[in-house]
Symmetry: C2
Amino acid sequence: MTDAPLDPTELGAYFALVEVSSLLQHSVEQQLRTAGLTSVQFKMLMTLLEAPGGQLRMTDLADTLVLSRSGLTYQAGLLENAGLITRSPSPDDDRSTTLALTAAGRERIFAVLPGHVDVVRRLLLDPLDRTQLDALGALLTRVRDHMRAAPPRSAAPRTRKRADQ
Amino acid sequence: MTDAPLDPTELGAYFALVEVSSLLQHSVEQQLRTAGLTSVQFKMLMTLLEAPGGQLRMTDLADTLVLSRSGLTYQAGLLENAGLITRSPSPDDDRSTTLALTAAGRERIFAVLPGHVDVVRRLLLDPLDRTQLDALGALLTRVRDHMRAAPPRSAAPRTRKRADQ
DNA sequence: TATTGTTATACTCTATAACTATA
DNA sequence: TATAGTTATAGAGTATAACAATA
């Protein structure tokens, strides 16, 4: 509702965020390619690794990764063909598909992780001391929680029922 | 060189950064589309707007946006066809192409900016008070400067002269 | 010989809409 | 009727390599 333009402090924080994340993303992408993974695929594997039981439903993963369902289906197909994950019907809800890491998937992650961590450390972590790192983490976590408070992507209606677009 | 895995603090900051930037990117992209711009195109226009004289060389813009030269050529072509920028040979170096904002380009930016600012404010700025915003900006600027200290993308050799790799 | 930019090409990825099946 | 996922489709975007021109 506020219509005022951003002041220099706001602009600075915003632009720095955009620049930092795109530089980091680019370097990370380059490193992951040596292991035959894109960053989206890496995120999928990592998210599964962290999930309880190493399993996750399609929709939940799509929301976490900010990806469309069909986009996730495509990527899941690639990872399944590569033998890194499995897709199986969920036990409790027959509409759902549950993704699970395979042993090969786990191995792949652990194979990439050192190089990945190296890039993240070199670009993002090295220039900050412990206190600054704590602060950055706290601030970004606060922002993320705020962003996540909005309804996720999958909650959007898929069939239009209103005339007002 | 450090081979240790990331500790929870490091992981937290890293993951929060990735998540925040992809959520923000997604919302921004959606808003910009209402004005017929992608985020890359918006960044190009904004960078030109901020540049001294509203002009910039291709290579400099490619480095700033972390984009390949050919990718930038493609996007510059789109913006030129849309009448938002002009491309002309640089006065001092005949190899270079200088991009410049047109009046229509400036108008387009100012037309999108309020909605854009609104998204940024709502997602990124609102959950932070002044002190926190200052801190976030300072931290990210520090990281960015560190990242930018490395040689830019365009400095990479384009013809391989060594047998190694 | 190095640098700037363009082009040709091929490919990856993503989203929209339609469709099926289950709750 | 709403939700979960897949598929078909089509388009947009990116990079690599080869090329032309200038420094």
